[in-house]
Symmetry: C2
Subunit: 163 residues, 2 copies
Amino acid sequence: MAETKRIFTFLLRFLAFCTTLSAAIVMASSRERTTVLALSFEAKYSDTPALKYFVIVNAIVSIYGFLILFLPSKSQLWRLVVALDAVFTILLTSSISAAMAIAYVGKEGNPNAGWLPICDQVRKYCNQVQGALIVGVFSVILYMLLFLYSIHTALNPILLEKS
Amino acid sequence: MAETKRIFTFLLRFLAFCTTLSAAIVMASSRERTTVLALSFEAKYSDTPALKYFVIVNAIVSIYGFLILFLPSKSQLWRLVVALDAVFTILLTSSISAAMAIAYVGKEGNPNAGWLPICDQVRKYCNQVQGALIVGVFSVILYMLLFLYSIHTALNPILLEKS
């Protein structure tokens, strides 16, 4: 039973690592050159602070997710993991919210502020950003599950004594 | 000792309630009418989905924060509060990140997307949004503290037996 649980959480953590890594890579590789009214310009993620923040957070969480795959199951450090899972869940939530808010303006614009949507000009770029955000949502959900599981393990005194 | 702790958390929860309520009110009352090139327009929070989301989340958390002030200390519902604190901390983080991402574009613009800053035209509106965001940051910090304290209480079996 304990063995099944360990394999299950390992798989969940591996999946979470894959989603954050691919979200970071897809977002970081999003760029498109286009020409509007004889003016050539390039849309890329690093133009927008919110998308840069998204890439940085996902990259950091990927490194954390990768390292934690190799943490021995008997390690005392698992108690620290509850706190780290909480911190990274909150960071991921914050980065995806900021990126989504900006992506929404990019898609729909904000007529009252005079901000025009840019997705008609740079369709490929927009689709790539959207893809990264969808993967990002999955990574947030996975980290929330992992965090809930961490709390559950920490809350259960019998499991605590075992570890 | 238990009495001091109870008063301390009550004060913390009261403060958290005040900050979320004032963040919602300050943001919701932010509007300014201005004239640009003979065109009169009004800037208000409800034009921007991210700011609307900020107001809604802060209003919901205010109601939760208000109700919880009256929860008897012996209630079994305190175990549920750990989960609710987690949910609302994440919601607050998400709403303030989205609102900040948009407020940043409002202040600095995004030259690459052709979005001009609007804060020079509607200075009073911008300052009010900024004020709401600053109060919002405090409310997020307070809810994180409360959540950590909830976990700590739940993790401590001696306290659990007492309640």
